[in-house]
């Protein structure tokens, strides 16, 4: 057996940058500072030891004399993980959502978000009440709304109010495709599409949003944690109603208020997730109702790194497996403590990343897809042969990598981990090559069949269940039997119960748009809303944020300590 370890391609790149030299060099100037004394910790040991020796008169720590002076050695059955693409090493436990405030905040930021149209309300005000709507009145309204949304009182005098410090994450901004209108609204309230997005994406978004005006609303984290996702639209609608009444000096009881309410609660509302059937018993804005296309729009990596659709898709995998596997299936649905181990396989140790970039090289070499310059122009027609070829090659390569490098096989010691990762790389490669989400999903299912036959094993029962019948429903689109990938989601009939899939499916959908440099996948409104730099969680860097959460560097919202005696 010649090879034991895989080449850590991505790691070596990072190392090279760090040491600014050839990593094959055995000598570097970096450490030549004087032996033991270069280590601040060792120096500290020696100083501390000297004090103890003076006090007790017996010699102690002396690494120069006894070079075996307490060499610490530990035993581990599990290894630390590197959160892929971050260089941060963490423990599995650090990636459990309960231990990781960044993970919690990512989900909080989705659940507490609602998008509400303003045009309907403006029409009511103009046509029914004859009120004038101007940029000035809109600014006035937004000032009032940003007072009311976190829980400040308007209209009535004797209302109780929330403490501003516990709801400091709550605010409202607006956006429109009409640059002229956007320019007239106070900067603090505007999500400026032209500034936030690369030109091509901005153009696409502005065109899609047009002249309509939308409110991107984030209710307080603490509210959505205490109540639920269904609260978000209700809480926001209540404050919207009150703010309109105040801003436009309406009579609180007049009938037009009902129209404003209807617009804010129903007609003009974009939920982040649709409500679920009774057997899954959740309201809107809960994870099971998020469509993959919408989730792909929430993640913003393609906005920040438009020239790397693979990376952007891998961030969707990370964010998606965290939300759908760890939180949704792992806890909401199963009632367990979360399927962390399944999910982390897809966003740690750069394994999926390496398989996926192999796919990128392959589609570039064979199909001339210039994936680093995403555009609709060079995409390959998604025929069955193309899907079979790309997914087949990526699957074979990934299987061979596991075979060639036993440490990789031991890292992903269970079949489910391997199956998810191999199929994801296959699906993403097809998605990027063809810009067709269903072709990508079809590639995933071919990968599953090939994997199972090659190794005579696959994953846990869920892989047998949905992945053996997936070929059949991946391209046909008929009610209750199939759907285009963008509209599928964790509640899609065949996907509803199996861990290790949904985040990857969302990423396959995402890849098919990122590869075209589309401004959005399914909803321009959601794409713009999550581009907001004021959000506590940075949706452009989910994996980096998770890593920060793991090493105690992420500051989440919904804090209650202010309200309690100090511990």
């Amino acid at each position: 057996m010649a090879k034991i370890e895989r080449a850590q391609k991505l790691f070596l790149k990072a190392l090279k940058t760090k040491f600014e030299g050839d990593v094959a060099d055995t000598k570097t100037g970096f450490y030549n500072f004087g032996g033991l004394n270069q280590s601040p910790r060792k120096k500290e040991f020696m100083e501390a030891s000297k004090k103890v020796e003076l006090r007790r008169g017996i010699s102690m720590y002396d690494p120069n004399r006894c070079h075996l002076g307490g060499l610490p050695m530990g035993q581990r059955q599990l290894m630390t993980y590197e959160v892929s693409g971050t260089g941060t090493f963490v423990e599995g436990d650090d990636l459990h959502f309960v231990n990781n405030p960044a993970m919690q905040q990512m989900w909080d930021d989705i659940r507490r978000t609602i998008i509400v149209n303003m045009d309907l309300a403006h029409q009511t005000l103009q046509k029914r009440l004859g009120k004038e709507i101007t940029p000035e009145t809109i600014n006035e309204y937004l000032h009032i709304l940003n007072h009311a949304m976190p829980g400040g009182a308007v209209v009535q005098e004797h209302m109780v109010e929330t403490h501003p410090s516990v709801v400091d994450d709550c605010y409202v901004k607006v956006f429109t495709g009409d640059s002229e209108l956007a320019d007239q609204i106070e900067k603090q309230f505007v999500l400026d599409v032209n500034k936030l997005f690369p030109a091509k994406q901005a153009e696409h978004l502005n065109e899609a949003v047009g002249k309509s005006l939308w409110q991107a609303i984030h209710i307080p984290t603490i509210v959505s944690r205490t109540c639920d996702g269904g609260t978000t639209s209700r809480w926001s609608a209540m404050q919207i109603g009150m703010s309109f009444i105040t801003a436009y000096r309406m009579c609180a009881g007049e009938a037009a208020v009902a129209d404003l309410s209807f617009a804010a609660k129903h007609a003009g509302v974009i939920q982040m997730a649709s409500h679920l059937p009774a057997r899954r018993a959740r309201g809107p804005n809960e994870p099971g109702g998020i469509m993959f296309g919408h989730f792909a729009d929430m993640v913003q990596t393609n906005r920040k790194y438009p020239n790397d659709p693979a990376r952007a898709s891998l961030e969707v995998v990370g964010a998606g497996t965290m939300l759908f596997d760890q939180i949704w299936l792992g806890s909401y649905m199963s009632g367990g403590v979360g399927f962390t181990q399944y999910a982390t396989a897809a966003y740690t140790d750069n394994i999926l990343d390496e398989f996926t970039y192999y796919g990128m090289d392959y589609i570039k070499d064979k199909y001339k897809v210039d994936w680093k310059n995403p555009s609709p122009k060079d995409k390959v027609k998604p025929t069955q042969d193309v899907v079979n070829d790309i997914a087949g090659e990526v699957t074979l390569n990934a299987m061979e990598q596991y075979e060639q490098f036993p440490t990789m096989m031991e890292d992903h010691f269970g079949g489910s981990q391997r199956a998810g990762v191999i199929a994801a790389a296959s699906g993403l490669s097809v998605g990027v090559a063809t810009a067709n989400s269903n072709a990508g999903l079809n590639g995933w299912y071919l990968s599953m069949l090939m994997h199972k036959e090659g190794w005579s094993r696959l994953g846990f029962f869920g892989y047998d269940l949905q992945d053996q019948c997936g070929s059949t429903n991946s391209l046909s689109v008929r009610p209750d039997e199939g759907c285009i990938g963008e509209y599928r989601g964790p509640n899609y009939p065949n996907y509803a119960m199996n861990v290790g899939h949904q985040g990857e499916y969302a990423a396959i959908v995402a890849s098919s748009h990122y590869t075209r440099n589309d401004g959005f996948c399914l909803s321009p409104l959601i794409k713009i809303t999550f581009a907001d730099p004021s959000l506590p969680f940075d949706f452009a860097e989910p994996r980096k944020e998770f890593a920060k959460g793991a090493i105690r560097e992420f500051v989440a919202c919904g804090e209650r300590t202010l309200l309690m005696p100090a511990r």
Binding site: E400, E403, M409, G414, G415, E453, G454, L458, S471, T472
Partner: protein, 252 residues
């Protein structure tokens, strides 16, 4: 037209081995001779010589309802006697173990009646009536489906299929149910890890050449690479393509 099962595609030795294991007309190659008593010890469900505990009275005594299906299906010996349902579970190393989880399941389904196999990535379990199980287990252990070093009989704590082998060639077992001693593998614990009063010898580990020639798993480093069996790949892709097409319910 009578259908002749083909058992699977492929031109490689792996494909051929798979077909041979599945095809009930091919006799499994007997390689070792673990006695019935020793198999009972490894299984750990009952003491050798102990009567079979029952889950229900013998069928002849309990009065069968008038059911056409029961008339068609001849009960197995174990079912007839009312035996409990018991199990044997295998962990197969990915380093050329002769049988592998799905392969085991397919093979058992073709060769045995009254069984309930369960297939996972790291282990494969088959359940059936106890006396039937002992007979089937004898086949599974004494023939070319088994290798003493790279197949583990493990009722629980099965971790090992994806790990590197130990220095002595044994697959890792956190309960070390068997040890290599004097050139042969001896079970010192039953399949769930209870120590045995006597060591059960299951024979000499097969050598690398035999394993490579008899395995049913593709492996590009230690065995036959999957990629090299073009017919196999083509066939799977064909199945996938046809299934995809069938999603549209093409009119024949």
């Amino acid at each position: 037209m009578a259908y002749t099962p083909q058992y699977g595609p492929g031109q490689s030795i792996v494909a051929e081995n798979r077909r041979k294991q599945m095809n009930p007309n091919v006799k499994l190659e007997k390689i070792r001779n673990v006695t019935d008593e020793d198999i009972v010890l490894i299984l750990g469900h009952r003491a050798p010589g102990q009567a079979y505990p029952t889950a229900h009275p013998p069928l002849a005594e309990q009065g069968e309802p008038d059911c056409p299906i029961r008339k068609i299906v001849t009960p197995t010996d174990g079912a007839k006697a009312g035996d409990r349902v018991r199990y044997i579970q295998f962990a197969d190393s990915m380093f050329n173990a002769p049988s592998q989880p799905y392969q085991r399941t397919y093979t058992e389904c073709y060769r045995y009646r009254g069984i309930d196999p369960g297939t996972l990535s790291g282990r494969q379990i088959v359940e059936c009536r106890e006396r039937d199980l002992e007979k089937i287990s004898a086949d599974l252990i004494n023939t070319n489906l088994f290798d003493p070093a790279r197949v583990g009989i493990r009722g629980a704590t099965v971790h090992g299929h994806s790990l590197r082998l130990a220095e002595d060639g044994m697959m890792f077992d956190m309960l070390q149910r068997c040890i290599l001693e004097g050139g042969t593998v001896k079970y010192v614990k039953d399949q769930i890890g209870t120590p045995l009063d006597k060591k059960v010898d299951v024979g000499k580990p097969m050598d690398d050449a035999w394993l490579k020639a008899n395995t049913t798993m593709f492996h590009s480093l230690v065995g036959t690479s999957y990629r090299s069996d073009a017919e196999y790949i083509e066939y799977i892709q064909r199945i996938h393509s046809l299934r995809t097409k069938y999603g549209f319910m093409p009119v024949e």
